[in-house]
Symmetry: D2
Subunit: 300 residues, 4 copies
């Protein structure tokens, strides 16, 4: 792989069977569906991938199956976020053995670390793992917000090669973009899909957008439109993204995003719909709302 | 064991060597020190025990060593809190094999669960583990606060035998106490040590108080004084607890409580002072503050 | 008045007519009802008194009417919390002219002040007003939590004669109590009524408890029982307080406490039930829940 | 005035003398400076204008002086945010008498209102005031976040003619933009200045940007560049805005933004630097940091 990673790197959901094993057939179908959309990489075991709530065995299986299926067609990033650093290291080693391109780590999410502790955490982690590392800012899950100053400092650490910002704060994101502009060896990705257009317009390298599980081509199109500053097309695609995003507001609680995507993929015939324990699949009422959202989209 | 668990059940810290292995000699010394204080049980791998930030191997070792050393002298509770339920189940199985009395689980701490999801979580978990379960409310770490209505409902679930409240909200605690008064098969423990006296005065069964690592007898005395409504003695002990608690405000960030206790235990010659990665031991300046606090206490 | 203020100082609700004027007849009846319960002072225009959401004219009228009716029988504290210090000063001057005993100020609640700014705020305010000042910690409304260190420092400022803690944190309250024990010129009051018993047991001077609008005698009894360390009576009264407190959980949102008390007082025939704009009175369904709670109390 | 309000509407700071009176000479100079930058309106007594922390007399004086000086050259919006609705109504009446174009109200900021209560609040307020109303979302100050569904609903209420979003959430802002696209009678403004470019690119009507006090032309240029989708110019201006914004991170606490702007204006010789009580002016060390930021800008 030459140069830094750029483009659309979907955070792949983890298809699970009813008894919460990896739905291997569904996973293969999903991966082919996403790859056919022209994406530039894949990110497994992130938040959308339910990484932290899967047990060790399922995480390992998910890494092996994905790497085998993709077989080098695009780079694979593997989420190694854990409360315990030893477990993150173990996951990174498995990812490395299976040919992953990089590891992605959110701050540890039990104790709430102060900024110097966060810097220490990432400096120690990157020394202990055999893969280059992306920093993953996900304050709604980890309670800890990595502020621009921390990211800018960590971007100097050897082995740290990128940043994924899911904080939702474009104000912070602009500070990072503005400070790291021109870095040819550091990738800056935006998480929330409704912010992809503006992020790329202002210099981001791409997006790790959950909605790309459902319509990878839509996000690849947005990435390309933003790269050529095609505003009319960007506005058109933004409206489509907003329509699709209504999936995330069906149901309540933070698990709804995963449930919404999984339910839609099941309705589209791609893979099974089960979230990890103790979450349940959507009931009929919610499924009907998912159907309604899908009916309004160009993928259906 | 007859009747429900009552009394002082210290959340034992996990002594670690410089290279972050279990400090087995230190652990033995610490356990004997705590037991000599007259405590009624032990709780390992809780927050004070850094359970969630230790890796699987260290957690397993800590269970084995503790159970072997204690050898049935008091009941042992084992923290099984994890982001993934499968990992909690694995820990509970290890605890069971080693003779633990019960398991203790905080809400999963990656996704933020809604109340019905929390109820589901505990109902599913208790069915999957071979030990009776204590619910552990620790919102500052898990972001999720178990409200009284949820606790009162979960107290009806077979296999759930107790509650540890570290929320710091005496208002919520009173609601639980008031609703579950007289339950001979359900234990209610308070976490924050400065609230032990009033909690027991109003009907709590005991405390899981971090400071009991340093001075187990102080907390056993408070428990006994509260049980006999000896207010002058309670006020005297409360002042001593407040003096000792100053240890927790040395340093910054939520890791300071663990660092403060470990540093004090090292200065007292009981065990090593290393916290789990990436946390550091206190520097000389902070150690001197620890020395000053210790000098003011009856244990020194 | 000799010595510091002690005992039960109810935060009096502000009875309003349907067109949101002071319900003067209702106010007189309410004041006589509360005074008959044996309270030691009155606090008007606090949170329960909806002080900050009443306009200037209503605040002025409430001060005048209350002071005239009470006519020196007990000391009157007047809430002067405002976003603008000039308005707090104006209120304190009105209170002074009408014979109030002291002013009570929460931190200004628009900008979020840092600790040194809060210290400055209170030092400046107390110099500008003609009345002694009580500090009022009410983080759920002001977003700013006064930590023990700030209170302990402000307790040294001439003119600041007391503290009312509505933070709900008994941990912080113990730190303040422990540091200011024995101060014969500084009053420490607890806000949340379910914490009155333990607060007084550990040395607090009394309570500013909203429920005393409905049953002043209950809280006076708890204060006296705690002062003589009568634990069986304290536990009995605590249960009654917990039953009464169910009023606060009818309806939703933070306005429910005021609505619940006003609705109950209206049902008891004491005064009108209207909250300040834009809040509405309870609907029939919620009124029935209030009736049910009342039916279970010794006042009904 | 024909059509809806569009463009750059700076939230004017309130120049105060050392004894906290309106600095009338400074205010005139500031208004002329801002108007010379080509702005499309002015917003006084907002957060940057310290509206809620000025007393009633200062608010009245600020309205009178500003309206007299501007004398109809651009429309004037007046902040009427208050904890008490009666005070908001009084301010709106004063604004109306002085010829203001509209009123701007954040949610009341003492009690935390639920969504139906917020809807009620705005519906009641707009009926009681003699001016059209802009809704002002400012959760960091008011603790209450107006979500897109509430804004979309309030946009249907007669008399409510616009929305200013200072939440910092571009995700929520896109939802509002997408739902209200094409409304020729409703203005949508962004607050945070670093988000102005993207907001206008995606359809916002303009910005209420604090930095326009210092360099109004910069923000007018960004507005125009975004309107013609001139991406290279937008990126250039964005960098200048990011450089200027460093002013806001000098000092600590939420008062720093106002202090930073006022200090810079004083150094530029435009008006006095005093913030409202109890805030202090910057000390020499911080002033030097302000000088350094200014030296790096095109205005200096």
């Amino acid at each position: 792989m030459k140069g830094k990673l750029k483009g659309i790197v979907p955070p792949v959901i983890t298809p699970l069977t009813r008894d919460r094993q990896i739905d291997c057939a569904g996973l293969k179908k999903l991966l082919e569906y996403i790859l056919a959309g022209g994406v530039h990489g894949l990110f497994i075991l992130g938040t959308t991938g339910e990484g932290p709530v899967l047990g060790y065995e399922l995480q390992k299986k998910m890494i092996e199956e994905t790497c085998a299926t993709v077989n080098g067609r695009v780079p694979i990033l593997v989420g190694i976020s854990a409360a315990a650093m030893d477990e993150s290291v173990k996951l990174a080693e498995i990812a490395h053995r299976n040919g992953a391109y990089g590891a992605v780590a959110a701050p540890p999410y039990y104790f709430s670390l102060g900024e110097p502790e966060l810097i220490d955490y990432y400096e120690t982690l990157v020394r202990r793992i055999p893969l280059p590392l992306f920093i993953y800012n996900m304050p709604s899950m980890t309670k800890t917000c990595l502020k621009p100053a921390a990211i800018i400092r960590l971007a100097e650490v050897p082995g740290i090669i990128g940043y994924k910002d899911s904080s939702g704060s474009m104000s912070d994101f602009h500070e990072v973009l503005s400070a790291l502009r021109g870095r040819e060896d550091f990738s800056i990705f935006i998480g929330p899909e409704e912010l992809l257009g503006e992020a790329v317009l202002f210099g981001a390298d791409g997006g790790v957008t959950g909605g790309a599980n459902l319509n990878p081509h839509l996000f690849v199109s947005m990435y390309e439109a933003a790269n050529r500053s095609d505003l009319p097309e960007i506005r058109r695609l933004q409206d489509e993204i907003c329509r699709q995003r209504k999936l995330y507001f069906i149901g309540r609680y933070s698990s709804s995003i995963v449930k919404g995507i999984k339910c839609a993929l099941a309705l589209m015939g791609i893979c099974s719909e089960y979230p990890a324990e103790p979450f349940h699949i959507f009931e009929e009422k919610e499924k009907n709302e998912v159907r309604k959202v899908l009916a309004d989209l160009s993928i259906s």
